[in-house]
Symmetry: C2
């Protein structure tokens, strides 16, 4: 089981303070003045434990608070990065469709829908 260290707490608090935003390892390193090694190791642990969600992009990974740890899909806005938790019975419908029609067992945890949220959609129109 993980030890309750000052660093681990600081990092988790940082994410919990803005559950709607994603943060990079670099950002944590600079904001909290914790060593690179510790930040990367802790981010990996927290992700493995399900407390954070990791998004891997072309220029490295970003992480986001996932305190709920629920088994559900997510919607992610390509512009502002906000992550919407999809607690919706329609998810089951999607699962069923892929299973019966495409012989594909969807992984809820890992599936992320990408698109534009309401706010950013309006921004585009302007």
């Amino acid at each position: 089981m993980p030890y309750k260290t000052k660093q681990r707490h600081a990092i988790l608090d940082y994410f919990a303070a803005s559950p709607e935003n994603t943060h990079t390892a670099r950002e944590i390193i600079e904001a909290l003045s914790i060593s690179e090694a510790t930040v990367f190791r802790t981010l990996t642990h927290l992700t493995d434990e399900g407390l954070l969600k990791r998004f891997t992009g072309p220029h490295g990974s970003t992480y986001q608070y996932s305190g709920c740890g629920g088994h559900h899909m997510h919607l992610k806005c390509k512009t502002c990065g906000v992550l919407v938790h999809l607690e919706c019975s329609f998810a089951e419908e999607i699962m069923r469709h892929f299973a019966t029609e495409h012989h594909f067992a969807l992984d809820k945890e890992d599936t992320v829908f990408y698109g534009l949220c309401e706010n950013c959609r309006e921004g585009v129109r302007k």
Copy 2:
């Protein structure tokens, strides 16, 4: 417009030869003996042109042939990496649900469902 070079052709042929598989930059570099710089530059160009699809993971990117270039969602198997093109009217239903119920404009091109394909699912059971 891009020049028709020997290297560009070789790379595109390599992908076209196995449209159902993903390949890494390193693999291309070694298999075709083309310089790193050229491979990365060409992969970027081909992805921008829509001829390849890029998947970014924790340890680098993988690319897959995408000749069809269609506007549809994809299913990707987490185990074998196979990419299934989702040409299915259910996609419209999903779009509509997210738009009306979640005010979210899904991006078909970028949305990838992750899970296990039929073959790999059977493998797990053994």
